[in-house]
């Protein structure tokens, strides 16, 4: 087992047993579930909305080259710059070089999972640049020096008491646990950063080809401040974020909001087409868009899994996932967690190191039911599993075990024999005091669970007794 898989098992076991964490995550998810139910009721036909969104994304992804070129051409026409980055390093280098050239000392950032993916903050910090995360949740996890817990609600795992203690320790003089006052503290702190920063970095929820615009969605308004006040605005987005037309947003915005938080529409849906024009009173002098590949074009070449690039990062599949609800976002050890993270990460960072995540699922299918662009996530988990097995990445005993299982399942006699042997073996093991020891093959399972009493007779024996032979 590799280091990532070992860490995953260790962390998952630890958080699965953390009752306090479960309570706060459950509270968050229940709140979300209720809001989404109300949100969906606003649609006449939610299913039709999902289908249309899927179609929009599919149209863009199937002709990605054309739409990206159109987007680039229009951004250039308006005086913006487009940089194509093949890897995370290329993207970081472009931004840090730009910052160094312009003498940037402070960067304000709005929430961007792609910037987490390329580890931009670390790259800027090693060049001596101060980076402020300005989304409240991101600001909190940045102060805690940990990655976001969830792609939409980064501080989902923390109570107000913990946040208050954090502010007291890091910001000083904070005597409140009231969310309103804590928010005001962060606002004051970050306003100073906004007005002193020379560069603002944002993500983009959509790249609009026909208008050469980036579309950014936030509730707090921090992305607007990042793209309005500093002299330079840099937007970083995966190449899969492109959509054909501005009018598509009339559907994508409410769908993203409903799936993401249950809102009818997010508070600020901003379009930026370039730097400030001569007649405008404010806005940045420079506008840069970094288009990140980092494995996406490889995923595009996989006809089975291409649709994973339709993802609009709404976070719905995380909230719906019983595994995410149990082990939380950090245990995954990846930037993207939950079902979409388990599907996507092997493509971005290698199957060998991250195939184990696709096995940590009961394939219950809850994620596919909620996904607003109808990505068949369980199928992709299965395909990742198949690919991992074909590549010989699974342990030998697993293979042997499944071969044996199949062999037994294929034949009535063998099945009966195995059932008997298992019941007998378990009884013997218990009698010999082996249950729970290193020799017990069920130890992993029974460590945290009660093993039910094994009945004396098999189901088949009981059936024969009550229904007769045949």
């Amino acid at each position: 087992m590799n280091a990532a898989a070992e860490a995953f098992l260790r962390e998952a076991a630890a958080t699965a047993a953390n009752g306090e964490l479960h309570q706060i995550v459950r509270k968050g998810v229940e709140h979300y579930d209720a809001a989404v139910e109300r949100g969906r009721a606003r649609f006449l036909d939610w299913e039709a909305a999902r289908q249309r969104c899927r179609k929009i994304k599919r149209e863009a992804i199937d002709r990605l080259d054309l739409y990206l070129e159109e987007f680039e051409r229009r951004v250039n026409e308006r005086g913006g710059h487009v940089f194509w980055a093949e890897t995370a390093e290329d993207a970081c280098r472009y931004v840090t070089d730009l910052a160094a050239r312009a003498g940037v000392r402070t960067v304000v950032k709005s929430k961007s999972m792609v910037s987490e993916e390329i580890r931009l903050n670390a790259a800027l910090e090693t060049r001596g640049i101060k980076v402020w995360e300005t989304d409240l949740g991101e600001f909190i996890v940045q102060l805690r020096e940990e990655p976001p817990f969830h792609i939409v609600t980064p501080a989902m795992h923390l109570t107000r008491r913990q946040i208050a203690a954090l502010f007291r320790e890091k910001l000083g003089g904070v005597q409140t646990e009231d969310p309103q006052e804590l928010t005001a503290v962060a606002r004051r702190e970050l306003r100073r950063a906004f007005f002193s920063a020379e560069m603002g970095v944002t993500g983009a929820n959509f790249l609009v080809a026909d208008s050469g615009a980036i579309a950014i969605t936030t509730n707090e308004g921090n992305a607007r401040l990042c793209s309005s006040l500093p002299r330079i605005h840099v937007a970083i987005a995966g190449i899969e974020k492109v959509i054909p037309r501005a009018e598509d947003l009339a559907l994508l915005w409410p769908v993203l909001a409903t799936a993401g938080t249950g809102q009818a529409i997010t508070c600020y849906n901003t379009l930026v087409t370039g730097p400030r024009t001569a007649s405008e009173p404010d806005g940045p002098e420079e506008f840069h868009v970094v288009l990140l590949d980092n494995g996406r074009s490889r995923l595009l070449a996989d006809p089975e899994q291409r649709e994973v690039l339709h993802c609009i990062r709404c976070g719905a599949c995380l909230n719906a996932c019983p595994v995410f609800r149990t082990i939380g976002g950090h245990a995954y050890g990846t930037i993207y967690s939950g079902p979409i993270g388990s599907v996507l990460t092997p493509h971005l960072r290698g199957l060998a190191e991250f195939q184990h995540l696709s096995f940590a699922s009961s394939l219950c299918g809850a994620c596919a039911v909620v996904c607003p662009v109808k990505i068949d996530l369980p199928r992709h988990l299965l395909q990742n599993r198949r690919n991992a097995i074909a590549a010989g990445l699974r342990p030998a005993q697993e293979r042997t075990g499944f071969r044996l299982w199949r062999w037994a399942m294929e034949n009535d006699r063998r099945f009966t024999m195995f059932g008997w042997a298992a019941r007998f073996g378990w009884k013997m093991a218990r009698r010999a005091g082996l249950a729970g020891t290193a020799l017990d093959p069920a130890r992993r399972w029974t460590k945290a669970r009660e093993m039910p009493e094994i009945p004396r007779h098999s189901f088949r024996a009981l059936w024969r007794k009550t229904h007769g032979a045949g």
């Binding site: 509270k27 709140h31 979300y32 006449l44 036909d45 039709a48 909305a49 289908q51 179609k55 599919r58 992804i61 199937d62 990605l64 070129e69 680039e72 940089f83 194509w84 980055a85 093949e86 409240l136 969310p179 309103q180 804590l182 606002r187 970050l190 509730n219 707090e220 308004g221 607007r224 401040l225 793209s227 309005s228 006040l229 009018e247 947003l249 009339a250 559907l251 915005w253 409410p254 009818a264 529409i265 508070c267 600020y268 849906n269 901003t270 930026v272 087409t273 730097p275 400030r276 024009t277 405008e280 009173p281 404010d282 806005g283 590949d293 074009s297 490889r298 595009l300 006809p303 291409r306």
Partner: protein, 216 residues
């Protein structure tokens, strides 16, 4: 230019082309199924949505009544600079507000301590209770930096739904003329601490829309 020095562009595009070459065209008949119920009574819907998203919506008959409503509103806002979009309409409306210190968008960006931003809108959206602003509405900061954003509008600007609002923007060439457009729905908010709703996270704590039935 950066992209000329950057061969990555060609490599990425080549990979995309190779990956999508064999994808059959996905063009299917347009799906006409209605997704939202059509909006009837746009003004009533707009008011109801505003109530739900914490926008303060005041409807009056005439433009001059709207000016008086603005004066009332500004009367309740602390001393200090008011930032305003420099346009004849806004100047006419603010003429009724007496001696407030006003910084016009023609003089530059709003200062950090502006007490309110007064702007027009590109459109109002009944379906969601949203206000569409562009950089022509006093720039990017006008609707963002001050703690209160006041919008002067009239009922002729009401688009029934988002598709109609996007169509208005397209027709007017707003995205061509302006470097930024924003669909604003309610005051700034966050629920990042225990999912508890807090207004005024980074942007305005109050969003007030003053609508006159008569256009001016």
């Amino acid at each position: 230019m950066a992209q000329v020095e950057n061969p990555a562009r060609e490599r990425i595009l080549a990979r995309i082309r190779a990956a999508t070459r064999s994808v059959p065209s996905s063009r299917t008949a347009p799906d006409a199924r209605p997704i939202f119920a059509p909006v009837s009574g746009p003004l009533e819907r707009f008011r109801a949505e505003c109530a739900a998203n914490a926008t303060e919506c005041i409807v009056v008959e005439t433009a001059s009544e709207r000016g008086r409503a603005l004066a009332d509103l500004l009367g309740g806002i602390p001393e200090g600079e008011i930032f305003a979009q420099d346009s004849p309409k806004v100047r006419r409306a603010l003429a009724l507000s007496g001696t407030r210190q006003i910084r016009w968008s023609s003089e530059g960006a709003p200062s950090e301590n502006s007490q309110a931003g007064v702007t027009l809108a590109e459109a109002l959206v009944a379906q969601t209770g949203s206000v569409v602003v562009s950089t022509a509405c006093g720039g990017r900061g006008a609707s963002l930096v001050p703690p209160v954003h006041i919008v002067l509008a009239d009922t002729s600007q009401l688009a029934p739904d988002l598709p109609a609002a996007m169509e208005t923007i397209r027709r007017n060439g707003t995205l061509m003329a302006c470097s930024s457009v924003c669909v604003i729905t309610g005051p700034s908010r966050t629920a990042d601490i225990e999912k508890i709703l807090v207004l005024g996270a980074h942007g305005p704590r109050r969003l007030v829309v003053l609508i006159s039935r008569e256009s001016d």
